[in-house]
């Protein structure tokens, strides 16, 4: 079993106040409007408990038959300012990664700068074989072409 540590950051300026952005995270009703798969999936389990120590789960079967499981625990919540969670990601029952995700909401005029910092431990023992078996070597070309054509990307989770 090998572990790869990787970090990435995403920044977006959203055309809404921090309160509205925070509200989009704070209830299952609001979050379900945008935190979702781009294709038809079968939801197997969906838990949502937005408070420190609370858990969120999104366990789903994709049209391809792939089963993904997002299991998160909220570690810090500061209304309209910050959300920190730790999530495990599983695919077909294998744990792929453990990630610390920090979301910061900074007001910019009447907009909000969302800063998403993710520090992940990616567990790859035997995993490479699984990936190549499931996706084949065409994965990268397909996604690159999608990127080039501006088509909807094939999402991961």
């Amino acid at each position: 079993m090998t572990v790869h540590n990787a970090n990435f950051t995403i920044e977006r300026v959203l055309n809404a106040s921090p309160a509205r952005v925070f509200a989009a995270y704070a209830t299952l009703e609001a979050k379900s409007q945008w935190f979702k798969a781009p294709s038809d999936i079968e939801t197997l389990n969906r838990d949502f408990d937005f408070r420190v120590g609370g858990k969120e789960r999104f366990h789903a079967r994709w049209p391809s038959g792939m089963v993904t499981d997002f299991q998160a625990t909220y570690h810090d919540i500061l209304e309209n300012e910050r959300i920190i969670l730790v999530y495990d990601m599983f695919q077909n029952g294998n744990k792929l990664s453990v990630s610390l995700q920090t979301l910061e909401l900074r007001p910019e005029g009447d907009k909000t700068r969302l800063i998403h910092t993710e520090q992940g431990s990616y567990l790859v023992g035997g995993r490479e074989a699984v990936v190549s078996r499931e996706h084949g070597t065409t994965w990268h070309i397909e996604n690159l072409m999608a990127l080039l054509e501006g088509r909807e990307q094939e999402a991961f989770a």
Partner: protein, 117 residues
């Protein structure tokens, strides 16, 4: 053992942020091409193409080699390891969620006034 840093990924995304370079990558996705073949359909000078090519090469997306007087370019589709692709996918997943968040915020702003502040 590969020591993954986020910078190769950033370089790749940066390299693909330019429409001219995307056109070059798109052309190469059909097969290797010489620099002049790459340049032919593009509204830019040969030296501009060479500059763009350099950026694509530095990002690890394209490889070129000179045989005689002809420099041939090919897409380096194996540039990313499985784990890099996987992390790229994860990043793209969240980017996509934020596209959806933006759409949701726009739609809900039209429907209602600001919810309780």
């Amino acid at each position: 053992m590969l020591q993954y840093q986020s910078s190769p990924l950033d370089l790749a995304f940066q390299a693909l942020s330019d429409p001219g370079r995307r056109a070059m990558v798109e052309r190469l996705s059909f097969g290797p091409a010489s620099v002049s073949e790459l340049a032919a359909p593009l509204p830019m000078t040969l030296s501009a193409v060479v500059q763009h090519l350099k950026i694509l090469e530095e990002a690890g997306l394209v490889k070129s080699e000179k045989v005689g007087r002809v420099r041939t370019c090919r897409l380096e589709i194996r540039a990313m390891t499985t784990v890099e692709r996987w992390i790229a996918e994860r990043k793209r997943f969240w980017e996509q969620q934020y596209d959806q968040l933006e759409a949701y915020l726009a739609a809900s702003a039209n429907k209602t006034e600001e919810p309780s502040e």
